[in-house]
Structure formats: C-alpha cells, structure tokens
C-alpha cells in the first residue's frame, strides 16, 4: 500500500470524518455516497444512511453507482416509497446530516445544480434539483462536497437550486428553513465553514501541502481565511485501504 493519496481521496476522507455514528444521513450519489460508505466502515459503524430512493438504514456491501441500486434495497432496514422518504423522513427534520454535491457554490454556500448561464438560454444545462432543495432546507445541517475551482466557487451562483445562507445572516430564518444549512464545505483543497457572524464561507482548514493562497486562487471571491487555520490530519492507512476497496482503486 502506498502512503501517497490523491486530492479526491483526502477530500473524501475529510468528508467521511464529518459523520458520526448514530447520525442519520441523507446521502447523495457520487462523492457523498463514497464518503458516507467510508465513514460507516471506519469510525461511524452506526451511521444510518438514507438514499432518496426510499432505502432507510441501508448498508450496501458495494458502492452503488445510482441512487437506487438493488444493493441499497437488499441491505436496508426498510424500503419506503419516494413520497414517504420526503414527507415522513426528510421534511419533519428527522435527518441529521444532508450530504450534497454542487456544480456552483457561492460565498454564502448557496448551491447551483440547475444551469450555467441564463435559465431560459442556458450555456450548460445541468441535471437540476432532485432532492437537494429540501435536503438543504430540512436536514439539521448540510455538508457539501465539491472540488474547488474558480468555475465552481463563484461570487454569485447563476441559479439558486438549494439555499445555503441566502444573502447572509437571518435569511434562512426569514425563509422559514428549519435546518442550520451548510455547516461545512469539503473540497479537494480544504474545509470551509460559514463565519458564525457573517455566514460567509471561510477557509478553516487546508489539506496537507495546500496553502491558504492555493485555496484563495481557486475561489471566485475574496476568500476569508480563519486566523487559526488548521491542517487536515493525513488519511490513515486504514482509511485509504477501505476507501480504495470501495472505489476499486485498490485493483481488487
């Protein structure tokens, strides 16, 4: 086993570490799913994973490619209908952590997965909202995983698919959104958190070998940096081993 790792790997490991055992987590497909499945196999064996296909308390033994792979149903505590997962589980605030991706994210952690450019004359049409707007609204908190670049980290998203902290303090409350919104944004460079006062995303942690300037250069606004900037602990050999067995990067 190598002790080196890719930037995607440390991003996934950092995201997995956000999850604790006993937490109920609404898992999106792709990077969020990989991170959640890593967490459940390492430090958070009691993590309760929900996928929007209606699989509650699932523990897939392989990483699903889609949100509704058969393995999710086979290993779930129970499978419920799609209305039920949204109305009975997500909407009342029963889910602790919502795990989302993003095509664009802005200074206030608002998320765009709908369209680049103008809605009616798009430059790039993206898949759209899916479950994200209500995940962002109703989970007790939201963790976003997204690779950091000036294309993705923009001053203002082209389209607000899912509300983060709106235009700043008090906006979520004004909109009646009951969860705390994005509390952490995990990237391939580090970790951003909303400033408690301004709600503006602030760099609080960098991955080993990454500087604050690297992160600022990959951000489309004047990124604030926490005075006590932390460094992500290196992935452990165990974390890397489990992650690579999940992604198939171990060649097995």
């Amino acid at each position: 086993m190598t002790t080196g790792y890719t930037s995607d790997e440390i991003m996934t490991v950092a995201a997995a570490r956000c999850l604790t055992s006993q937490t109920a987590c609404f898992v999106g497909i792709g990077l969020p799913s990989t991170a959640a499945n890593l967490a459940v196999r390492t430090h958070a064996p009691g993590l309760w994973m929900i996928y929007e296909s209606g699989t509650l308390g699932t523990r897939p033994d392989t990483l699903p490619l889609s949100i509704g792979d058969g393995v999710l149903a086979e290993t779930a505590d129970t499978v419920v209908s799609v209305p039920e997962v949204f109305n009975y589980w997500l909407q009342p605030g029963r889910i602790d952590v919502g795990f989302l991706g993003a095509a664009q994210i802005d200074r206030y952690a608002n998320i765009n997965t709908t369209v680049i450019g103008d809605y009616t004359d798009p430059k790039v049409r993206l898949p759209g909202a899916g479950g994200a707007p209500e995940i962002a609204a109703s989970c007790r908190e939201v963790v976003v995983i997204v690779r950091q670049s000036r294309r993705a980290f923009v001053e203002r998203v082209d389209f607000v698919t899912s509300v983060g902290h709106g235009a700043g303090p008090g906006d979520r409350e004004r909109l009646g959104l009951r969860g705390a919104g994005p509390t952490r944004v995990i990237t391939d460079l580090g970790v951003l958190e909303p400033d408690p006062a301004t709600r503006e995303l602030t760099l609080v942690q960098v991955h080993p070998g990454v500087s604050a300037e690297d992160a600022r250069a990959a951000t489309g606004w004047d990124l604030a940096v926490a005075p006590d900037l932390a460094t992500t602990p290196e992935p452990t050999p165990e974390e890397l081993k489990v992650l690579r067995s999940l992604t198939g990067a171990d060649g097995v």
């Binding site: 296909s53 889609s66 509704g68 792979d69 499978v79 959104l177």
Partner: protein, 274 residues
Amino acid sequence: MIVPLDEGVRELVHDGDTVALEGFTHLIPVAAGHEIIRQGRRDLTLVRMTPDVVYDQVIGAGCAARLVFSWGGNPGVGSLHRFRDAIQNGWPRPLEIEEHSHAGMANRYVAGASGVPFAVLRGYAGTDLVDQTPTIKTVECPFTGERLAAVPALNPDVTVIHAQRADRAGNVQLWGITGIQKEAVLAARRSLVTVEEVVDRLEPVPGQVLLPSRVVTAVSVVPGGARPSYAHGYYARDNAAYQAWDAVSRDRDAFARWLADEIGAPAPLPGKAG
C-alpha cells in the same frame, strides 16, 4: 387486459398526451419507451421525477414537446446529452420544461392519486425555481398562518411502468425500490404495465406494492423490459450500458445510428417546432 406491447402503446399513448414513464432507477419501462419512439409519437408532454437514458432517447427522437421533471441526468454517469441538445439548441425540436424538486414532484403525484387539486409541502423557499416554474405557489395554513409551498396535482393521461409480475386478471405486483410508481398509476387516467412474467397466483413478497387490476388498463409481457435498468429478483442493473450511453448521446450522428440499429426508427427531423 393482457396485450402485446405494440398494441398497448398504440391504444393507450396518443400524440399530444401527457405521459409518465416512471421508475426510480429500478424497474424503468425502457422497452415501452422504445416502442413509443418506434411508433413515432409526437408532441408528448413527458412527466418523470428522474428522466434518464430512456427519456434522453425519446426526447432525442423528437417525440416530446414538453418535459415535467425534477432531475434529468444519467444516474452515476453525468448529464443527458440529447436532453441538453434539446434545451440548449432546440434539436431536434425545442423542449419546453416545467421544473420542480423531487419533493414537489412526489407530492404532485400524491395529490393526483388522491383526487385533490394540489398538495402542500415545505419546499422551494428561497430557490430560483419559484421564479421559473409557475406551478409553484404558496398557501397559508388556516390554523397557524404559516406559508407553505403548494403544487398542483399531476394527472397524466397515461402512466407506463414496469413490474415484476402480473396475474391473469391483471393485478400487478412489484417490489424492491418501488419509488413513485403506485402514485403515478393511481394519478393517471390510463395505465400500461409491462411485466417480466404473468403468473397464476401472485405469492405475497415482503415489500411488495400490489396494484389491483381495476387501476391497470393494460398489461404487456416484456421480459427484460426494464433493461438496462434492473428488475429486483430477475436481473441486475447494466451499469456499463449507462456508461456507454454517454458517448452515443453526445453525438447526433451516433444517436441517429442508435435509433436505426436499436429501434428501427428513422433519424429525427430537426427544426420541427412544438
């Protein structure tokens, strides 16, 4: 009740209809979608929470004028390029869209199945969907004064689903991830169900949804009719096929060849507006 697929599509899916082919990754009625292309339906309003590869194909073939949806992508792979081409370039024809979130779409089907004109949910607040989608409004709780989102019922002319089994009377049984299929069938004026097999007796299965024959207009026996998606207990998802679709769909000519080879359908005529 039990009819060949081509007859089922001919009788139940008409030009201009609002058609929902539902399935949440699992049990997607792909064969029925292909038959709709083969029969050259036009001006359809397509409805689905998760339009994926089969809707990319139906849209690319020029069958659809509108799409009502909440997430349009190739699950686990990326974007839908025929869908993109229709929206970004109007090819082969412009595609009008009515865009919601999953929670909104699910509740629209629930309202449709329930015979009420709208549903109430906590949703959409602060998103730009509110400005783009006229079918998102608000309603005030008459008890607390809270404002919540309201969405109108969905009542497709016809819903098409795929299920594992039916009996000879037309009762339909599906299990595994059952998604929104029950509500989509109950909300529709007509329904067509393709099944893996017809059996004499539907032995109960844990997690099953049973659709009584009185809400099923027609059943067609189409083994493998959900491929490349999957049918729990029958066959697995063909992930490679989803990945392979990406290359086909990126290119109009490759898509035209796919239409000819796989469906036996002519290349779409571009520029034919709604």
